[in-house]
């Protein structure tokens, strides 16, 4: 079997990172970062509007969310890359010509719109999950809408929305591989595909592709988990980051020792039952 005889040779190339692969990796990272930031801003803006009681704000936001959630990312990219520039080609005097020909920017916008629309739902849903008593307390203290949102409601919703946002960001990273169809943008996938053609070392490059995307996703996930732990700690639930990382961890603080938001009265029988350990719960 020729494959096994050549085995070491295939993997030698795995450590031989060409400049082009590094450049492709850097493009992928940039697409993920800028796309993620844009998606987050769009998600927060549309999520807040979609939760508004005012129909003039809510309905346009809903239409945008449904539209950008419903269209295919590939088709959106095709449209931005190949249809939009035609308009400028025929009318060279239109403004923003440079922006329309900046395919990297268009890629970031496509990723931001598509994943931002998904994220908007996560933001809206987590805002509605914040206890109604919290909203009432802000009204009783005469806080303005921006004030209550910024200082009370959003910080609590933040801890709830992070797991969904984390998921979406990993999706966006992997979605950024579609950028390989874009002219003048050579992300990691595009470079791997380029290398496939003139070389016979596609095996190891495909392998690099698998591993690198996995590692990038892992880094994103760890980062978002850190944010989530920090957000929960700020709400008085769960240990601080320092406690989590310390070599001698203290006993894990149980979730919400005093049931502040629980409406039903405590039953006396329940008080003596020790808290169920996570392993017991998982065994069911």
């Amino acid at each position: 079997m020729e494959f096994f005889e050549d085995w070491p040779q295939y993997f030698e190339v795995a450590i031989n990172w060409s400049d082009r692969l590094l450049a492709g990796l850097w493009t992928t990272i940039q697409l993920t970062l800028f796309g993620g930031i844009l998606a987050f801003l769009i998600a927060v803006a549309l999520g807040l509007l979609a939760g508004s009681p005012n129909g003039w704000l809510r309905i346009p936001a809903r239409v945008l969310i449904e539209f950008f959630r419903g269209i295919s990312l590939v088709v959106l990219l095709f449209w931005l890359m190949f249809v939009l520039p035609q308009i400028w080609m025929r009318n060279p005097d239109l403004p923003f010509r440079d922006l329309v020909y900046n395919t990297f920017l268009l890629g970031v916008i496509a990723l931001g719109l598509n994943y931002g629309a998904y994220g908007a739902e996560a933001v809206r849903a987590s805002l509605t999950t914040v206890a109604s008593g919290q909203w009432e307390a802000t009204t009783a203290l005469s806080m303005s809408w921006p004030h209550k949102m910024r200082r009370v409601i959003f910080p609590q919703a933040w801890a709830l929305m992070l797991p969904s946002l984390s998921n979406l960001w990993v999706h966006l990273l992997k979605g950024s591989a579609i950028a390989y169809i874009m002219p003048f943008v050579s992300d990691l996938t595009a470079e791997l595909n380029q290398l496939r053609r003139p070389t016979d070392i596609w095996f190891s490059h495909a392998f690099i592709g698998l591993v690198v995307y996995f590692i990038l996703a892992l880094v994103l996930t760890l980062f978002m988990q850190t944010l989530e732990a920090r957000a929960k700690h700020k709400l008085g639930r769960g240990p601080s980051i320092r406690e989590i990382l310390s070599p001698a961890p203290k006993a894990i603080v149980p979730d919400a020792p005093v049931a502040a938001s629980v409406t039903e009265p405590k039953s006396d029988a329940g008080a003596d039952v020790p808290p169920r350990s996570p392993s017991e719960g998982g065994a069911r």
Partner: protein
Amino acid sequence: MPTPNDAVGIRPAEAASSTSPEVPVIEFVDVEKRFGDNIVLKDLNFSVRRGERVTLIGPSGSGKTTILRLVMTLEELTGGYIFVDGEPLTHREKDGRRVAVSPKEQKKLRTRIGMVFQQFNLFPNMTVLENIIEAPIHVLGQSKAEATAKAHSLLEQVGLPDKADQHPLSLSGGQQQRVAIARALAMDPEILLLDEVTSALDPEVVGDVLNILRKVADTTNVTMLIVTHEMSFARDVSHKVMMFDGGRVIEEGAPEKIFSDPSQERTKQFLSAVLRDA
């Protein structure tokens, strides 16, 4: 030497001078509240004088809590008018029609009203101190130093001087409710609404919370509208008791009269049921 009023920071001088004493601090005129087809309050008329402490009693579902929530603008008023210091809180009559007041006018009146909730509703993303100073700084425009000094003195009064930097969720229910009382008082309310403030507490801490409220009642002339099932507390602190049933006031009067010699059969039934439980 601080006077009792300084201690809890109620603004008696301002409050008294801002309007003439004859103007009721709260006035309900033909108030109606419905949720869909369900009419909770109908043709409700009553007024509360400045410094008066009024307890609303009655079976659950009789609309007592709804009255507090209407005053706090947590519910939309579906009919009639509510006046605070003689000014319309939600709607005014103009050319024979009900017209909503501007948000700005409403906010001006609302900052004079404070509320303590059954479920405390402290902000879990802030420490105890931050909970208390947030609105005085950002809504009333107090300096941070001023608000913090006031918060510490309020925490002292509610018996929690050492809890300023704790998270609300690390406190017991009774402690959380005392912080919530301090938070409401930090806004210098003219009107304090107490909505079943001891109902979510363990029986042994109910007394602590009620004693703090008795002290607030004794040392200030803040107007209080109270919904409670603690009849001895109602008897001690209130000037007037109003008995509700089916969205109407069926009897009102001094607590001594209502509790010892009610004129309505329904009030007798209700009181005997409640007092038997106690």
